[in-house]
């Protein structure tokens, strides 16, 4: 085994070699994610219960504010499905950046494809997301009269696509936030604006009251088609083909751009830690 530095990208000369190396180290990704989950479970009193409590509390807070205090959205199924899907993507921004910044010792000392760290975070958060979907049904089946139908098979399309989207988002944020730590401060605010721009706390019918230009702007938000496809899967909403096409396009584009940005930067990463 001979390796020479520098090479064009940090870890491997070609993209497919990089991906092969990632695949070779899949056990590491799995242990890293599981280790983080175990450590978290072990250090809290309620442990495993937080998998249910977290989404429950998240859903409760938003329903309390936007369903009861400022009743902009009383449809709890609509609200919670949106919140859980949104949260899964938005947390990959801070999580992606932290997975690099918080592991600086590891990065400085050991050579491995750096993308492993955001991927492990993504895996961890995917478990959380799946748990939140269980919570969603626990609430909406009794309270909103929603019964999951065969449309739930759309999850098999929506989830892999969103994973690609989130990976791109996590990788791009890490790429930008490692040299510019300021960005970690901005993330919570960007997330909040993104939330208000997404069809979660306001009903889709609200769009009809704004001009077509505005409507177009709102629809440019990648969360728009993503949440729409999820609502088809989870709640049986009719599927608009345009949403499906837009979701595929957004997820692939963000995934490819984010990962490419990350890999190109990888060789310089240690200099900023």
């Amino acid at each position: 085994m001979t390796t020479t530095t520098p090479s064009p990208v940090y870890y491997a000369r070609r993209f497919n070699e990089y991906m092969a190396e990632l695949w070779r180290r899949r056990d590491f990704v799995w242990f890293l994610a599981r280790g983080n989950i175990k450590a978290r479970n072990a250090s809290t009193v309620l442990g495993l219960a937080w998998w249910v409590l977290n989404p429950l509390l998240l859903g409760f807070v938003y329903f309390f504010i936007f369903g009861l205090i400022f009743p902009t959205q009383r449809d709890i199924a609509y609200l919670l499905s949106g919140i859980f899907v949104f949260h899964y993507s938005s947390q990959s921004m801070s999580g992606g950046a932290n997975s690099i910044i918080g592991n600086s010792k590891l990065l400085v000392n050991i050579r491995f494809p750096r993308l492993i760290l955001p991927i492990a975070f993504l895996l961890e958060s995917t478990f959380g997301f799946l748990a939140s979907l269980v919570v969603l049904y626990l609430i909406v089946i009794p309270f909103a009269d929603v019964i999951p139908g065969p449309s739930i098979l759309w999850l098999l399309v929506a989830l892999p696509l969103q994973i690609v989207f989130n990976l791109g988002l996590a990788a791009a944020t890490a790429r930008l936030a490692v040299p510019f730590r300021d960005i970690t401060n901005l993330i919570p605010y960007l997330t909040r604006i993104w939330l208000y721009m997404s069809p979660i706390i306001w009903p889709l019918s609200m769009l009809e009251s704004v001009s077509e230009t505005f409507q177009g702007l709102f629809r440019l938000n990648p969360m728009f088609p993503i949440i729409a496809v999820y609502r088809t899967a989870l709640l049986g909403y009719p599927l608009a083909q345009a949403d499906l096409v837009a979701m595929v396009a957004w997820c692939l584009a963000i995934g490819v751009i984010g990962v490419a940005m990350f890999i190109k930067f990888e060789g310089r990463m240690v200099r900023y830690l």
Partner: protein, 255 residues
């Protein structure tokens, strides 16, 4: 002679201070505007080779570039100029227990430590029993590592690192860990590695120990190799230099 295990060729590493200070957007904009960046050159054209079966030491004062050099050899830091060719499986002990999660048991950390270094789960499975036995931790292996004493911690870290079947080992300040008994064992393991024509690069301020252990050594001074050769000779030269410097400083202080 067979090809060297590590070949460092004319390596330059420059840091821009604003980079070191964790650039903010503002500072970056400032440097962007002025375009003048003050460079700190951590390594200035360093070249040497480490042969197979050789223990190679690196000495030098604080800030001489030793850690930067180790990172370049570990290939976590890409040099600005020059290149590093490594032939063989490398294991690094730049810091003991990197990749460990103190919340988790020693047992799980054996897996984490092995996987982070590039093994797969099956390969760790095969080595697991040997690692536990080598570490002499007994049932403590099932306790979270945060309950370990520092000696227990480094014993496990060392046991994991040595069972990765390294052909090249990079050591920063750690040559032997644990109590006297374990130290002897860890030294014996190092010598076994060298006998199998593995290579060890050892960076340390414990220059006597370094001179005794290493075959050859390099003295790094302000980013340049000031002397290279038989370990005792290089270390002696370095020690004389340090003593001379100290005398000069003392004389200045008295004047």
């Amino acid at each position: 002679m067979s090809a060297p295990a590590i070949k460092v060729e004319n390596v330059w590493v420059r840091f821009r201070p604003y980079v070191d200070r964790r650039p903010t957007l503002r500072r970056s904009l400032a440097t962007f505007r002025h375009k003048e960046t003050q460079l700190v050159e951590a390594l200035k054209g360093v070249s040497f080779e480490v042969q197979k079966g050789e223990a190679f030491g690196v000495v030098g004062q604080n800030g001489a570039g030793k850690s930067t050099l180790l990172r370049v050899m570990a290939r976590t830091l890409r040099p600005d100029e020059g290149r590093v060719v490594v032939r063989g499986r490398m294991s690094t002990l730049l810091q003991l227990g990197v990749g460990f999660n103190a919340q988790l048991s020693g047992s799980r950390n054996i897996y984490l430590g092995g996987l982070v270094a590039g093994l797969n789960k099956k390969q760790v499975d095969e080595r697991y029993d040997e690692i536990v036995e080598y570490s002499e931790l007994g049932d403590a292996i099932y306790r979270p590592m945060k309950t370990y004493s520092s000696g227990m911690f480094s014993r496990l870290a060392f046991a994991v690192a040595m069972h990765l079947d390294p052909e090249i080992l990079l050591l920063d300040e750690v040559l032997a860990v644990g109590d006297e008994g374990f130290k002897e064992k860890s030294m014996a393991t190092m010598h076994e590695l060298l006998d199998r024509s593995g290579s060890i690069v050892f960076v340390s301020h414990a220059v006597r120990q370094l001179a005794d252990f290493c075959d050859r050594a390099a003295w790094l001074d302000e980013g340049r190799v000031r002397a290279i050769g038989e370990a005792h000779g290089v270390v002696e030269e370095y020690r004389e230099f340090v003593q001379r410097r100290r005398k000069e400083l003392r004389a200045q202080g008295l004047a």
